[in-house]
């Protein structure tokens, strides 16, 4: 429970997962991960490859053989017998690393409509949501709704995948490596879109990435994973206060943090919890002005 009595929207309690458990090819992906995510939070799950990020993401929507007592949605155990998994998947929307894999229909409009239709929405309502989602993602509805998904570019396909999830109006939006393979403009656009959506819809936003830079632009809190365990969890600035520990992991640190670490050679007490270049600049100007 949080202080005001609202249960966390998602919670992992001692979550562990081994792929192909009980076979000679068993791989322990996650060992003992616990954290809570409150409604409306923007959380970055950061870690190098093989750290267990994607496994954690799959667990949120009960896409793995999750054991009881480890994964909770709004306080309910998702692995409890009789738990409505379909309903859970209508609340936790996931945009996977490779967007192609989650596109079901061949035509853009039909694919975005898939979720709302499966959820039992009326044709009129579905149409409205498809139009809204495609327009939001900068794929104008009249122009794109009849295009073939496989004829689109990689960036456009990712947008279709996101539109398909947005059309579900899920309270939780999980993005696995959303920035991978996008050019700088595509990144900027996606970033602005996600920030806007999060505010407008009061989303709980979870971003998985191997790059703290990507996560720091979107998230107020970081959960850092390494080899299947949580190594840091807290407000973004707090986590950045220990950059040496983060630097040992194979993750990309934000530029201002990298610069700040270098500057520590001149100013040993130089702060590293800097999220933007402006903050770095202000700090530097203050120091140089003083000395």
């Amino acid at each position: 429970m949080t202080s005001d009595g609202v249960p966390p929207i998602l919670e992992l309690r001692g979550f562990r997962y081994t792929y192909l458990e009980g076979t000679p090819r068993a791989v322990e992906a996650v060992r003992d991960v616990s954290f809570r995510i409150n409604p409306g939070e923007r959380v970055g799950i950061v870690g190098p490859t093989q750290s267990g990020k994607s496994t954690v993401v799959d667990a949120f929507a009960h896409l793995l053989r999750v054991k009881p007592g480890q994964v909770f949605y709004e306080g309910h155990d998702v692995a409890a017998p009789g738990y409505d998994r379909q309903a859970l998947r209508r609340r936790v929307g996931i945009v996977f690393q490779r967007p192609e894999s989650q596109i079901i229909e061949d035509v853009v409009g039909a694919d975005v409509a898939f979720g709302p239709t499966a959820a039992g929405l009326s044709a009129a309502e579905t149409r409205e949501r498809v139009e809204e989602s495609l327009n939001t993602l900068g794929l104008p509805y009249p122009e794109y709704r009849l295009r073939y998904v496989h004829a689109l570019s990689g960036g456009q396909r990712r947008r279709v995948a996101i539109a398909g999830v947005l059309a579900m109006h899920t309270p939780v939006l999980v993005l696995d490596e959303p920035m991978a393979g996008l050019d700088p403009r595509g990144r900027r656009e996606l970033l602005e879109l996600l920030m806007r959506l999060q505010k407008d819809r009061d989303l709980t936003l979870i971003v998985c990435s191997a790059s703290l830079t990507d996560a720091s632009l979107l998230c107020e809190r970081f959960v850092v994973l390494d080899r299947g365990s949580v190594v840091a969890d807290g407000p973004a600035r707090e986590v950045l206060r220990e950059p040496d520990r983060l630097a040992k992991l194979d993750i990309t640190l934000p530029e201002p943090v990298i610069a700040a670490r270098e500057l520590r050679k001149a100013f040993p007490d130089f702060p590293t919890e800097l999220l933007t270049e402006e903050e770095l600049e202000a700090e530097l100007v203050a120091r140089l002005g003083a000395s």
Partner: protein, 270 residues
């Protein structure tokens, strides 16, 4: 959850480092051929009973868990039972009146039908087991080298041995990759509301049909990438290619082949 990787082990390699793994790949391939020939020659339950201890011996020595092999054969065995049921019900051979246990129109269950289906079943299981074991206990590199050397002499007759072996090995190597891919796709689609983990067998099968188009697309993309990779690394078949490690069959390897051949002849003759 669609858990294919657990239930289909075809084409996988488990590096258990046992004696079975270390036996020269060529010997293992020839031994497998001996097994295959034997499986067609043996036609009595007694014959297969003689074979069984050898298979148990191989299983134990290989250090690969039996439970893993059995679980990994679930789909195969289910399919086999399905086929054999038809074999029994539609048995076409001559059956004396006393041989029928049950009859309804053109469907029947007879002693003769059961016997033939039983032998056929054992034959297929035997074949499946030895080929699966060959792949579980032989790395693809060894398998490729072994096949290339066995069929090497055919190259004089202008048979493109290296290319054929390569195609064969790539085909096998792609099976587990495809299985993984299907699982990944199924997970992503489940997240969007396609319930792969619910409904009867027919509904489930129909949902798997949805995966076909994306699987083909990713398959072609993979093949394309592989071709490019091979071209950039100047692959040009086996011509003029030398090997760092030459295979050498020792006394133990030959002894294994001799033992297997003798055992199979015995099983055939009993």
């Amino acid at each position: 959850m669609l858990e294919l990787q657990r239930n289909v082990i075809f084409g996988q390699y488990i590096d258990a480092g046992s004696f079975v793994h270390r036996v020269d790949a060529r010997i293992k391939i020839v031994a497998t051929v001996v097994f295959i020939v034997a499986s067609f020659l043996i036609d009595s339950f007694l014959g297969f009973a003689v074979v069984l201890p050898l298979l148990i011996l191989i299983q134990v020595v290989s250090k690969i868990s039996l439970g893993y092999v059995l679980r990994g054969s679930r789909f195969f065995l289910a399919f086999l039972i399905f086929i054999l049921a038809f074999q029994v019900l539609f048995y076409p051979g001559d059956v004396p009146e006393s041989g029928y246990l049950w009859r309804w129109g053109f469907l029947s269950v007879s002693n003769e039908g059961l016997y033939t289906a039983g032998i056929l079943g054992l034959r297929v299981i035997f074949l499946y087991y030895v080929t699966t074991m060959l792949m579980l206990a032989t790395s693809l590199v060894d398998l490729t080298n072994g096949l290339e050397q066995i069929f090497g002499p055919l190259q004089r007759l202008r048979v493109p041995v290296n290319e054929l072996v390569l195609v064969f090995v790539i085909a096998i190597k792609f099976v587990p990759i495809f299985i993984e891919e299907v699982e990944r796709l199924a997970r992503a689609q489940t997240a969007r509301g396609v319930p792969f983990d619910e409904g009867g067998p027919i509904t489930r099968a129909r949902r798997i049909g949805r995966l076909l188009v994306p699987i083909f697309i990713s398959g072609f993309a993979r093949a394309d990438t592989l071709t490019t990779a091979m071209n950039t690394r100047s692959y040009r078949g086996g011509r003029g290619r030398t090997k760092l490690r030459w295979m050498k069959a020792g006394v133990a390897d030959w002894a294994v082949l001799a033992l297997i051949t003798a055992w199979m002849v015995a099983a055939w003759l009993v």
